[in-house]
């Protein structure tokens, strides 16, 4: 056999180039569905609605708490606070795999609720509500001030 002539090898070379190009393309393309999934999945994964639920509960509950204590004298705000806090903590943990906790006014003498609020101005006293939520992926902490009508100041 004569020595093989290698002049045509550029065609093979082109073949390789195209093949490599396709590999590159495939890698890029394979990322695209992942991006799409994360858009919808991350929406589902982010516990927006749960946090809004807890937050909304505390905001509406807080303003009603003083009335509640008048209606049911045997359960003052402190008892209610503890009841709700523990309900929230246990049920979040067991059903949503999340740590959910809150406190109303900083802890003082083992009590959470200050009748006089944490802060005050001429018109309102403010109860400071610290919310904490953590489901392992998303961690959320917030301090919000809940005004309570108190014209005497």
């Amino acid at each position: 056999m004569e020595t093989l002539n290698d002049e045509g090898q550029w065609i093979v070379m082109m073949g390789f180039l195209v093949a490599i190009g396709m590999f590159m393309l495939a890698i890029v393309v394979s990322q695209a569905p992942l991006v799409g999934q994360t858009t919808a999945e991350s929406v589902m994964e982010f516990p927006k609605n749960e946090i809004q639920d807890l937050r909304g509960k505390l905001v509406s509950m807080g303003s009603t708490l003083p009335e509640i204590s008048l209606e049911t004298p045997d359960s003052d705000q402190e008892t209610l606070q503890n009841r709700f806090r523990e309900d929230m903590a246990l049920l979040s943990m067991s059903r949503n795999n999340a740590i959910a906790n809150y406190s109303v006014d900083p802890l003082y003498n083992g009590k959470y609720w200050y009748d006089s609020g944490t802060y005050g101005d001429v018109f309102y006293k403010y109860h400071q509500i610290d919310i904490h939520y953590n489901n392992g992926v998303t961690e959320y902490s917030e301090s919000l001030l809940l005004p309570q009508w108190d014209p005497e100041g």
């Binding site: 002539n5 073949g15 590999f23 639920d53 909304g56």
Partner: protein, 174 residues
Amino acid sequence: MVMNDEGQLYTIEGITAGVIMLVTAFTIFNSGLVYTPGDAHISDMQIQQLGYDALQMMDTPADSSPLYESPLAKMIQGNHGDQFKIEFNDYLKKHTGTTEIVDSLEFNATVFNRDGDTPHSYQFSNSTMYETSQLTREPAISVTRYVWITGRPFASGYDTGNQLVLLEVLIWRR
């Protein structure tokens, strides 16, 4: 004498290049890449948001009465699962008329409450086709909402007094 193979030089290389490209192409596109349809999770996301919205609507009193007097709280307190079924269904299929709504959502609602350190639960309500749609259903989406009630829920033996219970609703497309 050897056969004259000079004339086949380019042909062989052309075939080689072609085979390389085709094999690569088929390897990559036909077997290697299994992608999920892009919208697999999107309808899930819509159902989840709709479910949360529906629960929130039911837990919002129409006037400024306290939260424990929301329609949802009253239903749980009075164990009116049938009423919940009707209202929740109404919310799920509500639409503006812009698009066609396929009314094929089924659900199953469970109430969880705390007794000491253990969660208790009971089935609160479910949709009409709940049983029959179990076989062919798509994966369910879970939505939850805390509900403030002033007494113990329906089942006896639970704590009395003000408490939060967790309403969990599983929603799926039949």
